[in-house]
């Protein structure tokens, strides 16, 4: 198992190298080159030459790439063209919010999706089964931003159960050592701040979880339907074991294998879905910042984000693979 982890972490190196080449080439391929896009309407040949010299763009391509790579390795993702602050710093203040939101969405998707799918499969044709189909259909067909609006209108504006925007009430005074607001509240024992931050996560978390929830519920239903008819489940019943043991040790454990893979893939979807949700709820995560970066061609930010997502994605899938191996001994062997 440890070998697998090391192996996969080592594989990250070629992945990131390849990605850095692509990202480097991408900026070179921008129409008119990076300088033109940087200067925009302020373009003059003199200004262009000055910036080119400043950025080392007059040097051979491979030297430029070498320097770019060296900076990356030092953790220097460049400077945002829009805000003038280091990209890494911008990420560190905003990414925790997105991670918090994604985690909440993931917990909701798993916590509701798996039980729903399980009950639907065990009582195929029942009311729960049909309801799960409806929920899943809504989940995948209603666009996230629309669902976000409806949730906001119903539960924040009309019912006023949850706050409608932001990460924290304006009246709240709290310290933020990590920028994970819920965690901060717990760390600093500011319980009201932690609770406030959690309440702010509910609606965006629900909106964001809709698609993965639907997919996880359907996957679970399919997997459980298959496993509950497997020969080894019948044999387990022939042994006269308790229903609870049959459910947890045989049916759910086996059915979780395909569902786990799906969950790993959902994380990527969640991160990209977060952009829309954050915008609707004025949630100051990476989403809104990224949207701004796209419109203003802030390529160092975009480059950095792609790298960051790649690392997160690879790590999440490593976790999925490891848990897969923990559940399924056959894979442990192959790995």
């Amino acid at each position: 198992m440890l070998r697998l982890v090391v192996q996969r972490l080592l594989l990250l190196i070629p992945l990131l190298l390849g990605l850095s080449v692509l990202l480097f080439a991408w900026v070179r391929a921008l129409p008119g080159g990076p300088v033109t896009s940087m200067l925009g309407e302020r373009y003059t040949p003199e200004a262009a030459a000055r910036i080119e010299a400043e950025m080392g763009l007059d040097q051979p391509v491979w030297v430029q790439y070498g320097k770019y790579l060296a900076r990356l390795i030092e953790g220097d993702l460049g400077t945002s063209l829009r805000t003038g602050r280091p990209v890494l710093e911008e990420f560190l203040t905003r990414f925790p919010a997105t991670i918090e939101l994604t985690l909440v969405a993931l917990v909701l998707a798993i916590g509701i999706g798996i039980p729903l799918g399980y009950v639907a499969a065990r009582r195929a044709g029942s009311v729960v089964d049909h309801a799960s189909v409806v929920v899943s259909l809504i989940g995948v067909t209603v666009p996230v931003f629309f669902l976000a609006f409806i949730l906001k209108y119903l539960f924040a504006v009309e019912l006023d159960w949850f706050p409608s925007a932001g990460r924290q009430s304006v009246t709240m005074v709290a310290t933020h050592p990590t920028n994970f607001y819920v965690l901060d509240g717990l760390l600093t024992a500011e319980w009201d701040a932690a609770w406030d931050a959690m309440m702010h996560l509910v609606l965006p978390g629900l909106a964001l979880s809709s698609i993965p929830l639907a997919i996880i519920a359907r996957m679970t239903r399919a997997a459980v339907s298959e496993v509950q008819n497997a020969d080894y489940v019948r044999t387990a019943r022939a042994k006269g074991i308790k229903a609870s043991r049959l459910r947890s040790d045989h049916i759910i454990r086996n059915a979780m294998l395909p569902v786990l893979t799906t969950i790993g893939l959902q994380v990527g979807l969640l991160l990209s879905g977060a952009v829309l949700t954050e915008t609707v709820f004025a949630f100051s995560g990476i989403g809104g910042f990224l949207a701004e970066a796209v419109f203003s061609a802030d390529y160092p930010v975009l480059q950095g984000f792609v790298l960051l997502i790649a690392v997160v994605y690879a790590l999440v899938n490593l976790i999925v693979d490891v848990s897969y191996g923990l559940i399924d001994p056959r894979l442990r062997r192959q790995q």
Partner: protein, 578 residues
């Protein structure tokens, strides 16, 4: 073996006029109809029938393990005086694992793949209150040892995928007997295993149930097995019990038409190679043709075998063929090790003849077949087809080779694309090789369907709507579509019931006569070999250990291994009984 254990007359199981229905989209389908039978203490009762005859459904009804859409429509199941139809689900669950045991059919699918073997037995002991969680493991190890699993203490902490088929089946036997049941349902307990392994496991099971006084309900499609192992034989056909009685009586003097057919079709050592001349036109008259044939045609060695020993060049000539697989190592740097699947094999397949390669799983016979089919590359040695190396040198000659050699695989359930209609399945190779236009292809497909005795109506159907025999006919038609010279049958009839098996073997023999085909038969089933082959090649651990004509090998086996294979065929008793 009858009469020896019926000293106590305690009735363990009485099934009374039982009918079982399955709810389907087109209304209820009756799987078992008005079945009655009795099992006494210490007795072994075998239910014999082909798949779909309702024998497994009957057994599952006894265990209360019918699929969710199945239900007992009428009748009663009395188990030690208790009406199982009337007990609560809780009581039924309590009976299972204590009074009622199951040894299921397929050891590959009946163990939870992600749970250690020991725990799978522990949990039954614990939940049935037979052992405390602390003491369960030592009992589990005892049970595994009792079922003949070597090194049980260590093995108990391994997973199913680390076990061979035989070891898994032994674990399932330990599981089935763990609660010391009064009645053990053994559903085809060895049909998925090699014959030599089968024998050992059946002996173990018989010994245990005899010592424990367990009544056994043995479900099997194999008459030979029933004859050898049961006191009472119950024959089921299309959901009904058509005949029952003491084993010897049913097998020596079958009363019902179906039992007679089953007897006739049972491949045994008595059957000789099917002669097409006799069989032509008799395809549907299954009755006693084979039986009398088996008795009459005792000694005509090689009379009808075309070209055996003739000077004509063989169609396939294998010389020193060796195949080495590299098994991947575990670590980043470990180099892996080599596994020699086929070692230095030399054999010829004469034109128009049938050569059978027999051996247990792992003997290398399938790898050899795959190399002849040009699916697998040789590591060293040569395989020549019609004087030229197999596969040729470029893509075009390889495709040309594919036309001349066609496979028929074992499992008719998985070797047909479920989304393809029968027509499309048969037409596919014609399309792939650019054969004529749509109309010509249709005509050819219809011709092929006729050759393999499939009705025109079948062409529009999908594999899921066909029986096993029909599927295998489709697979054969598909293989014949391009008029190949060599057909490689890899366990082509192993998955079929005996009656259907006999039909397919006859069909193959007839096609050989009509079309001048050459067959290479890969099989573990020696009884099948005797029915179809001219020559036999016996493989063990990748090497050829014995080779000769069918009569030479069967009548005077030279190696101990071949003798063991022959001895292990169930049904030698049946033959003696006749």
């Amino acid at each position: 073996m009858s009469d020896t254990t019926t000293t106590t007359d305690e009735l363990v199981l009485r099934v009374e006029d039982l009918s079982v229905d399955f709810r389907t989209d087109s209304g209820p389908a009756r799987a078992v109809s008005g079945a009655s039978l009795e099992v006494r203490r210490g007795q072994t009762v075998a239910i014999v029938g082909e798949s779909g005859s309702g024998k497994t459904t009957l057994a599952m009804a006894v265990l209360g393990l019918l699929a969710s859409n199945g239900e007992v429509a009428q009748g009663h199941i009395w188990f030690r005086g208790e009406d199982l139809g009337a007990v609560s689900p809780q009581r039924f669950a309590q009976l299972r694992g204590t009074e009622l045991g199951l040894v299921p059919q397929d050891p590959m699918t009946n163990l939870d793949p992600i749970m250690r073997i020991g725990r799978q037995i522990d949990e039954g002991l614990i939940d049935n209150g037979l052992r405390s969680p602390r003491d369960a493991r030592s009992r589990t190890v005892e049970l595994l040892e009792e079922a003949g699993l070597p090194d049980a203490a260590r093995r108990a902490s391994q997973y199913p995928h680390e076990f061979s088929g035989g070891m898994r089946q032994r674990s399932l036997i330990a599981m089935g007997l763990s609660g010391r049941p009064a009645l053990l349902v053994a559903d085809e307990p060895t049909s998925a295993l090699d014959v030599t392994v089968q024998r050992g496991i059946l002996d173990q099971l018989a010994g245990l149930t005899r010592d424990l006084g367990t009544a056994v309900l043995l479900i099997t499609h194999d008459l030979g097995l029933a004859a050898e192992r049961a006191d009472v034989v119950v024959v089921m056909y299309r959901g009904e019990i058509v005949e029952q009685g003491p084993a010897r009586q049913v097998l020596t003097a079958p009363q019902h038409e179906y039992t007679k057919r089953l007897m006739a079709a049972a491949p045994s050592l008595a059957s000789r190679r099917i002669e097409i001349a006799r069989e032509r036109g008799l395809d549907d008259v299954l009755d006693d043709a084979l039986l009398t044939h088996g008795a009459e045609a005792t000694d005509e060695p090689g009379a009808t075998t075309p070209s055996s020993g003739s000077a004509e060049a063989p169609l396939v000539s294998v010389r020193n063929a060796t195949k080495v697989f590299r098994i991947r190592g575990h670590g980043l740097l470990s180099r892996g090790r080599d596994f020699t699947a086929v070692q230095d094999v030399t054999l010829d397949v004469p034109r128009g003849g049938t050569v059978a390669v027999v051996g247990e799983s792992g003997s290398g016979k399938s790898t050899l077949a795959r190399m002849i089919l040009d699916i697998e590359k040789l590591t060293s040695g040569t395989i020549e087809f019609d004087g030229a190396p197999v596969g040729g040198t470029d893509a075009r000659s390889r495709i040309a080779y594919r036309r001349r050699v066609q496979p028929v695989f074992q499992d008719p359930y998985s070797s047909l694309d479920p989304m393809y209609s029968v027509f499309r399945a048969i037409e596919e190779p014609l399309r792939a090789h650019g054969y004529g236009d749509a109309a010509t292809r249709r005509a050819r497909v219809e011709e092929l369907a006729e050759q393999v005795a499939l009705g025109k109506g079948v062409l529009r159907r999908f594999p899921s709507e066909l029986s096993g025999g029909q599927r295998q006919r489709v697979a054969i038609a598909r293989a014949l579509a391009l008029s190949p010279e060599l057909v490689v049958c890899d366990e082509a009839v192993s998955a079929l019931d005996v009656v259907v098996q006999a039909q397919i073997l006859r069909l193959l023999a007839q096609l050989q006569e009509d079309l001048g085909l050459t067959y290479l038969f890969i099989t573990h089933d020696l009884a099948v070999v005797r029915q179809i082959a001219d020559r036999v090649v016996v493989m063990q651990d990748g090497r050829v250990v014995e080779e000769g004509t069918v009569d030479e090998v069967f009548d005077a086996p030279k190696t101990a291994y071949t003798r063991a294979l022959l001895d292990a065929i169930p049904g030698r008793d049946l033959e003696l009984a006749l």
